[in-house]
Subunit: 247 residues, 2 copies
């Protein structure tokens, strides 16, 4: 794979092309899969329709997500290839700001990619990366896709699943976990099953959740609970749908 | 690159996943680039919003495109990596039905990919594949991106450019060529510069253009001209935009 494309500086969407190259570097490192590249393209299209900006309703969702992570007994941030490629440092910072664990969890699980992603996260400051033990299963999913760590996602009460497949999002919800899903398509199953659907680009969403978590570091459980309670998931999903229609 | 993903048979969007695997095979063969995979994802998102069906306005555009190709003195179908991966046989059939040439033309041109794509097209029945000579230039584009064959795209009066980059679509239009663009995003620059914008999935659009060309094989130039004249490009672009909004 050496089909490098030079981006002319006068190209109208240089920023977006640079993001693409970041994820392509993920391919070179074995972090991002080919399916991940296609998923990135789908995300780009929805982000384009959303205006490539964080909606006020998404900011509300990111604040509620931060509160939910801070309230958790055991929060876990699930990381796949695209998450690792796009926001490795930002994910480590969110884990630090909320006391959450980080667990690698892949749709197309191979030991090689699991290790490449864990290495990539460690290179960006992650101290403890779960997911490699894989000594528990999410009920209702096929063997490879259901693998999780017993002391990680299996044990968690709150799980952040960015860019997640719909089947697994549903299976995690059925386990009774409080799910926070980041996804750019408000109509896809993953955000529709989430307690907190965040319809935003992960590149903007994760740092903004960290910012909210830091602001809420000294908040009481009652304050955090009221932020969670005030967040209206249906309203947020509808606002994102309207934003896509109003192109 | 061996991150194969097994598609569970009960997955809700098996058809779409199979299409993705066809394009991933293109990667294995050196036909599709990493940028091509991302572009495929963008297309999937827009096709999803369009309802994954050919709009009546797109069918009109495909009929007008067929008429335009039949009217041409010299029509050329421009083929990039995704076109070759997704519709190799269908492109050869459209060339046969309209008397058009086929020319490989890439955003990220490398001799290796040019050859892989030409070989792939020949394996699907193409007898004469242009683009490898590259003895002419499209004015206004950087060196690599402007390369075309003097007796191919450079000479053509009608060019089909499916899944084309906006810069090149504009440069071709400025050369006075009649452009037919296939693109799933009605807002992107490429279809907006085209005489005939076809807002449809290339997998549906190319065979449908061939069907129309066969039906119009015995039509007089006057009949073909009236089909072209009756096609309303603004109306077609607006219909596609409305279809995306009405999700």
């Amino acid at each position: 794979m050496s089909h490098e494309v030079e981006i002319p500086e006068d190209h109208p969407r240089q920023q977006s092309l640079l993001t693409r190259h970041r994820i392509e570097d993920g391919v070179e490192k074995g972090v991002t899969s080919k399916q991940g590249l296609i998923a990135e393209g789908r995300g780009e299209a929805f982000d384009y329709l959303l205006g490539e900006a964080t909606l006020p309703s998404a900011d509300d969702a990111e604040r509620a997500a931060a509160a939910q992570l801070l309230l958790a007994d055991h929060a876990v941030l699930s990381v796949n290839g695209n998450v690792a490629a796009l926001v490795p440092k930002e994910t480590v910072e969110l884990a630090e700001a909320t006391g959450a664990d980080i667990e690698v969890n892949l749709f197309g699980r191979t030991e090689e990619r699991m290790r490449a992603i864990a290495d990539h996260l460690r290179a960006h400051g992650a101290e403890n990366v779960k997911g490699l033990t894989a000594d528990a299963r999410i009920p209702g999913l096929e063997h490879e896709r259901g693998k999780v760590d017993a002391d990680g996602i299996y044990d968690a009460d709150v799980v952040l699943v960015p860019l997640e497949d719909g089947d697994r999002a549903e299976a995690l919800a059925e386990m009774g976990k409080t799910e926070i899903v980041i996804d750019l398509n408000p109509l896809s199953r993953s955000p529709r099953t989430a307690a907190v659907p965040v319809i935003d680009n992960i590149i903007r969403a994760v740092p903004n959740m960290t910012k909210h978590a830091r602001e809420l570091a000294d908040a009481s459980p009652e304050e955090l609970e009221s932020i969670v309670a005030e967040f209206d998931r249906e309203k947020a999903l509808n606002a994102a749908e309207r934003a896509i229609r109003d192109i």
